[in-house]
Amino acid sequence: MRKRRDPRAEQAARLLPGGPRPRYGLKVVATETDRPRRNPRAERKAATVSESPRLRIAWKGGVAPQAGTLDAPASRGAPKVRIIAEPAFHVLVIAGAGEIDRQMIGAARLIADAGGGAVCIASSTEAEDWADAGADRLMPLSGLEVGTYDPEAHAAAVLAAIASLKPAHVLFPETPGGGDIARRVAARLGERLFAGVEDIRDGRAIRRANGGRDAMSVAVPRLLSIAAGAFARHEGAPHEARRIEGPGFEPVRKGIMQAKAMPVDPDSIALAEADFLLSGGNGVSDWDAFAELAVLLGATRGGSRVVCDQGHLPRDRQVGASGTLVTAGCYFALGISGAPQHLQGIQRVGRVVAVNTDLHAAMIKRADLAIVADAQEVMPALIRLLAQRKDTAE
């Protein structure tokens, strides 16, 4: 390899003597230092972490290749499972409340990773992929009947799990059902529950107190309940979610003797709370049929601004930016074209079913099932079909 040139020495060699100011000749002088010449292309190549999807160069080094690099999947294979074999302590997470379960594991990981602990999830259902969610252990809570309301038995099962695992911290969901279990357990143990924790920072748990005005913080206590939507779910490597023995528990004294779901009038449910909405717009003119369809579907009625302006539905039934922002699981739109303000109102809706005559309406684009037809013609057909199916069901 060629040696590196020394430009200063070359210039000094071309200096012509004499005269008041320095003059340089044109003679070419070859100089060499003892250092080898740089190869910028090779240096750049060595510092390149990834080329696709975007070029990343780490000139200072020390950057791990990101997921999504071209060569990474081939060399790494399956994502590496993080195993905590000998944890310093356990963090028990009481699952069973849906989406918040993963957020609780995210919060539990914050506590566990700060001190070398392991996250153990106690669940009465086994459908979830707890390894991916970030749980180290899985403790099945057996003996609980799924789908029945029995908080006393549930609290007894959780107490047995706490007695068998002896966790340093127990996390409950601050949902109507989960918060109930948490308080029953705390009252039975005679310990304080730090309820509705919104943040965990620097080893302190923070919740809101005094009507939400104050932030109350304390070193992470033993029993805490986690507010919904407060923590991000675990995004890193999967954990092993090894099954451990679930505890047996004694049946407790029964204060609650019987519980059953009650039928409710769908129209008495507030629009923001309703789970199944039948919404009518300008394409609907037969409002008696609309009401009949709502009764047959068991859906709460709503409408666009236009129909509320015209007085077909009361103002508190208006869906949209100037009405109610709804959170239904299913939104059934009849004859609604989908003004931007209306689409804002249904932003958090699960599934949208729409019937509209205009193929290019915004609502048709938004819908999961879109039917380009006249709502006035579809309504009687659907009423007939529902009445017929109901008769055969009875």
């Binding site: 029953r184 005094n210 104050d214 779901a261 299913c330």
Partner: protein, 268 residues
């Protein structure tokens, strides 16, 4: 039947001034209605805290004749005093709100009282439908659903926001009502003293980001209006459309003709 109502001092969410607590007022409303309908009902309203608080008069104005106030010092734990007092009167029913508006507001008081009285408890009560040797209560669930629960007495029933609205306090009754002071021990609350209180400040949180290779794609996923699955039927016959709608609703379990019996007043 002895009915005890546990009342706390509320905090107005906008002005921060003391007021009657909304959920406790709902519990008192139910108790006053029970006192009218249930034979030999005996109402006993209890507050643990400062007897001189002016907002306590709002409860008296609702129709209470007498409010028993356990004089517990500011910052002390009210639960031991409440438990001792309730153990003396042995109520069959304890009504209260799910949680206090002011102070810690952890919602533990009904549970601790139930534990001390060895009473049964159902959370989030919206109403009482039947009361005899046992109680049948209506429990409010999320999304407007209701559940009917039968439970043994004695029972502690914490009320939810779905309970009927409380009546407005009347000024003359508020003046006429008697506040009866009871001396009570003030057990200092060590846990709350260990807690640090600052003003709540909403902080930005980094929640789960949408997966996507480039920043542009992630930005698009965050900001763009959601598009549907895009199953489109163009100009079907009404019967085809109805069948497709029916199948879709049944497939995603929004329609269950057996379970969802519409009620008689469904059609207005």
């Amino acid at each position: 039947m002895r009915i005890a109502v546990l009342l706390s001092l509320g905090l107005h969410p906008a002005s921060g001034r003391a007021r009657r607590a909304e959920l406790d007022a709902k519990a008192l409303e139910l108790a006053l209605r029970l006192a009218e309908t249930v034979p030999d009902a005996e109402l006993h309203a209890v507050h643990a805290g400062d007897p001189d608080a002016g907002a306590l008069r709002d409860y008296l104005g609702m129709g209470l004749d007498r409010l028993h106030v356990l004089d517990v010092a500011q910052g002390a734990d009210p639960v031991p005093a409440l438990n001792r007092h309730l153990n003396e009167i042995r109520p069959d029913l304890v009504l209260t709100g799910m949680r206090a508006e002011a102070g810690e507001g952890s919602g533990m008081v009904p549970y601790l009282v139930a534990e001390a009285l060895e009473a049964s408890l159902v959370a989030d009560v919206a109403g009482i439908s039947d009361l005899a040797d046992e109680a049948t209560v209506i429990q409010a669930l999320p999304r407007g659903r209701r559940r009917q629960v039968r439970l043994r007495l004695p029972a502690v029933l914490p009320f939810n926001a779905a309970a009927p609205e409380p009546r407005a306090p009347a000024f003359a009754r508020a003046r006429r009502g008697i506040i009866e002071r009871h001396r009570a021990e003030s057990v200092p609350d060590d846990f709350l003293e260990a807690c640090e209180n600052t003003l709540w400040r909403a902080r930005p949180k980094r929640m789960g980001l949408p997966a996507g290779a480039t920043a542009a794609e992630r930005m698009k996923a965050m900001t763009e209006a959601r598009a549907g699955e895009g199953q489109v039927m163009v100009h079907p016959t009404p019967d085809e459309a109805a069948a497709a709608l029916y199948d879709y609703l049944v497939e995603h379990r929004f329609l269950d003709l057996q379970a969802r019996e519409p009620t008689a007043n469904g059609q207005k």
